[in-house]
Symmetry: C2
Subunit: 338 residues, 2 copies
DNA sequence: GCCAGCAATGTGAACGGTCACATTTGCCCA
DNA sequence: TGGGCAAATGTGACCGTTCACATTGCTGGC
């Protein structure tokens, strides 16, 4: 055996030599080119597996100038929702032979946004998924004049042609309506951070549903998505108890609220109703189990890849808006007297 | 301007031409080669920024046969802990000019493990981080005879030279001891899934601490990390109320337990103490706030990259075991009479 | 029996970097 | 004044694939 004892991994030409064909034929086998005689194909495949041949992605990327990679730009990837979507994106991409590369941006460090974008662009990703629906991210995106397609999750308004979203407003209206139907007239809203697009959408949904039903509103309180914030906001609100229900813009903040209300010795929903948004898996086990709005993050991630890479063969494009679903549990009940 | 109106992105040679140097000089500027005259460097840099030149990663990878990418193989990336570690890994890697590519494996589909590994290897990652500490993942890893270094998070035993871990056993002993010190003698343990290494380690810590203190033990119950499981396990256990404390192997299952105990009309910690593991951010707002063990997932992710790529310049290698910390909150108290 | 035309395969040149080595320049010191 | 040596730069090959185009062999219609 004149075995090539060099440490080099076998290339297309090594395979070609052993299979007694040209390197191009090997390439054709790899790419499922139609006009290859079955016996030739088999011979090549046999040599490939014998040599444990693996195509060199870099070489392919170089000549095709396609990286077969999509980038994910994400804030708060530790949260259940984004994390679920990321996992779904990864799965859908992998199914199509794509790789996924992530860059997390820090909410505290503004420069991390352009940094993250640059990092992914340097990787020459073919598409970008943005799961960081903050206004300033869009500014950065616009400023860079990306030459790759991108999709943003959960942000209908700013950039309609790129957006794929759960209809946050509809969800917010759903749950607000639920409270109104239960007789609540004094409802507070704890919103998400100011420049988060989905926070804004939920807030708008809340306000619109309130005014559509002629219920007077108070100014929403801007939170930061954490249970911690919900807790302190709750303590603050309870000093003047002029409400019977609170709609928190996510489940974590709702959890903090429940905590604060209990600390005050009050009952949910007896004294105060609390509703959240997202339906994280834990929400069903809060005390009391939380009424909330379910979003299908997984579906969202999957469709996101469709939108970016074009729908998989045969599957026709689904509408780009997913309507969320109200999940009624025990944290909401008839309005108490104040 | 004989501008190259071709759609091609500028290459090192385009820059060279405009800067009136050779392509190799441009390459040297890119790679911070020492012997370049400052004025030459400036000229080249100027042209690069004018042309918006960006090095082609594939070309570099091809010739150096280094992908500058590390792969993350992860199960349960939607959980707070793994997600935090992933974010930290990504940040640390990016700081060193590395990219991160993830592959999630499904707990339900065994073939997803070799698939995920193959996917990352096809990407020719230079290192692998495994955040899926399941026994069968290690088997798959061993079977593949990887030619890249890898590190596994949270699994001391199986593979000591590759492991980097929070000392799960120490954490489990800490919290078990806490219960024993409070006078508990009838303690149940809800463990994680059977083939999860960290579940196993926590269970061992529990059993060892129990027997070190001559407290009789009952067989641990094997759960699946979810609040849902904790809830049903709790309901089941409460049919025969022969215990005063439960140690759940993670905070989610503890949440489910709290739910079940409340459903039964019992008080935590008055009747039963409950402790968890991980200290997810929400744990402080459970009802009652949960006594648990804090793991620094972020630090873990950071060190993990050090271990894989070698510590950053000047920083000396930290020990590869991180000791977790007991966080006492209100869910644990003196043992009640049964 | 000839040639068009297609199926199957081969040939050589990219792609955009880095590597190894060659060449030029500038400076110091004998 | 010239030789040597290091600093600064240039030259051409190469990495492993795909692309565009060329070549071969065979089939079928007239």
């Amino acid at each position: 055996m004149s075995d090539d004892a060099t440490g080099r991994r076998p290339s297309i030409r090594d395979v070609a030599r052993l299979a007694a064909v040209s390197h191009q034929t090997v390439s054709r086998v790899i790419n499922n080119h139609p006009s290859i005689r079955p016996e030739t194909r088999d011979r090549v495949l046999a040599v490939m597996s014998e040599l444990q041949y693996r195509p060199n992605r870099a070489a392919r990327a170089l000549v095709t100038s396609r990286s077969q990679t999509i980038g994910i730009l994400s804030a708060s990837s530790t949260q259940y929702g984004p994390a679920s979507s990321i996992a779904a994106i990864e799965a859908a991409a992998r199914e199509r032979g794509y790789w996924v590369s992530t860059a997390n941006i820090s909410p505290h460090d503004p420069s991390s946004i352009p940094d993250g974008i640059a990092h992914l662009m340097a990787q020459s990703v073919e598409g970008l998924v943005v799961i960081a629906p903050q206004v300033r991210v869009f500014r950065a995106l616009a400023a860079q004049q990306l030459d790759v397609p991108y999709v943003t999750l959960q942000s209908t308004e700013l950039d309609p042609q790129h957006a794929l979203s759960v209809d946050q407003m509809a969800g917010a209206r759903l749950v607000t309506r639920h409270l109104i139907d239960l007789g609540h007239r004094n409802i507070y809203h704890i919103a998400g951070p100011q420049d988060w697009i989905e926070a804004e959408a939920r807030m708008r949904g809340f306000l619109e549903e309130m005014s559509a039903n002629d219920v007077p509103t108070t100014a929403p309180i801007l939170g930061d998505w954490t249970a911690e914030f919900g807790y302190y906001a709750g303590r603050e609100l309870l000093r003047v108890r002029d409400f019977t229900a609170i709609f928190a813009s996510n489940d974590q903040m709702a959890l903090g609220l429940l905590h604060a209300i209990r600390d005050e010795g009050l009952d949910v929903p007896g004294d105060i109703s609390v509703v959240g948004f997202d339906d994280i898996p834990d929400a069903a086990h809060f005390w009391p189990p939380l009424t909330t709005v379910r979003q299908d993050f997984t579906e969202l991630g999957r469709r996101c890849v469709d939108l970016l890479l074009g729908p998989a063969d045969g599957v026709e494009p689904a509408p780009t808006t997913i309507v969320p679903e109200l999940v009624v549990r025990r944290s909401s009940g008839p309005a108490a007297r104040i």
